[in-house]
């Protein structure tokens, strides 16, 4: 009798749990957004009523610039020390990409990349204008100012 009970093996059916786990993985894979890594979520955006939901239609390249309340330009969590040279590098890359795309007639006039400014609401205009001016000097004319529709 004792020998019989030792031979009984408990083999749970793992198929349903595996199905469920795969469904969860599929869900997370679909909703994961690697672009959020370039956004500094500690920045408190201003609240503007007319801010429209983000539209990426027709926008070929985005350069996200996070500016904290001290005026530091942040990129993937790190502070960019030399703002002018960083933007000049990005402009060069954008111009190169535009030239590779031969049918891009607009690139001859101004850079196709849109500058996305995510600045803290308490940042002084002087700090923001420094970045805007550096972008304009390098040929960027399309800007998008990020804001919240309502207080979070």
């Amino acid at each position: 009798m004792a020998q019989l009970s030792q031979e009984v093996k408990a083999e749970p059916n793992l198929t349903p749990i595996l199905d469920m786990v795969f469904q969860l993985i599929t869900f997370f894979m679909l909703v994961i957004n690697f672009k959020s890594a370039e956004m500094d979520l500690s920045i408190r955006l201003p609240v503007v009523g007319s801010a429209r939901p983000v539209e990426t239609h027709g926008q070929r390249g985005l350069l996200v610039l996070n500016i904290d309340q001290n005026g530091n330009l942040k990129n993937y969590g790190g502070i960019v020390q030399n703002v002018e040279s960083y933007i000049a590098r990005e402009a060069y890359a954008s111009r190169l990409a535009a030239h590779i795309n031969a049918d891009d007639k607009e690139a001859a006039q101004d850079l196709p990349t849109t500058i996305v400014i995510r600045a803290d609401r308490a940042t002084s205009f002087k700090m923001i204008n420094r970045v805007i001016k550096a972008c304009q000097d390098n040929g960027f004319l399309k800007f998008t100012l990020k804001a919240m529709n309502k207080e979070a």
């Binding site: 503007v48 983000v54 205009f125 800007f143």
Partner: protein
């Protein structure tokens, strides 16, 4: 041979799902830990050319050459808005449209609406002169009012330029 075939067909193939489940759980853990839902953000799209001269005479004309011209702003296509902020707090102290002072955002909106409602108005872009100490959220209120304006051709105003003015 026939015996062998019989034996094979009878034996069950049992996959070991435990290893696969372990891997799936690891993937699941990774996705759960890296999942950070981004807040819903809005945006204001603008075309920000570098600031140019405030007055641009399209058809240069000597003063007094055309005595029938009763519109002194003919040829001017840039409207100037002045935003002066308190140097300490960064809050807006005073606002002006051209030479006219306006008392607040509602008055600014009303004045701009009045300017842009005129079918003969020559303005198609706006220069905003801003104190360097002005807070970004205060400036965005002005930008918000500007971007709500509709040009005579039905397009929304999106061509703005910023000029920094030293506060004090």
């Amino acid at each position: 041979m026939a015996r062998r075939r019989k034996r094979r067909s009878q034996s069950d193939v049992e996959l070991n799902l435990a290893a696969m489940l372990d891997m799936a759980f690891q993937l699941l853990t990774f996705f759960i830990l890296t999942f950070r839902p981004a807040p819903v953000e809005g945006q204001i799209s603008l075309r920000l050319p570098p600031p140019q001269a405030v007055v641009v005479a399209k058809n240069a004309q000597k003063a007094g050459a055309d005595t029938s011209n009763t519109n002194p702003v003919q040829g001017v296509n840039t409207l100037t808005i002045s935003v002066f902020a308190d140097p300490q707090s960064g809050l807006i102290k005073s606002l002006g449209v051209g030479e006219t002072q306006v008392s607040g955002m509602a008055a600014l909106g009303g004045k701009l609406k009045e300017v842009f409602a005129d079918p003969g108005n020559p303005f198609d872009q706006v220069i905003i002169q801003v104190s360097d100490s002005c807070r970004y959220d205060e400036l965005m209120k002005v930008v918000d009012v500007c971007t709500r304006q509709v040009l005579p051709d039905g397009q929304k105003l999106s061509k703005l330029s910023f000029v920094e003015v030293p506060s004090g």
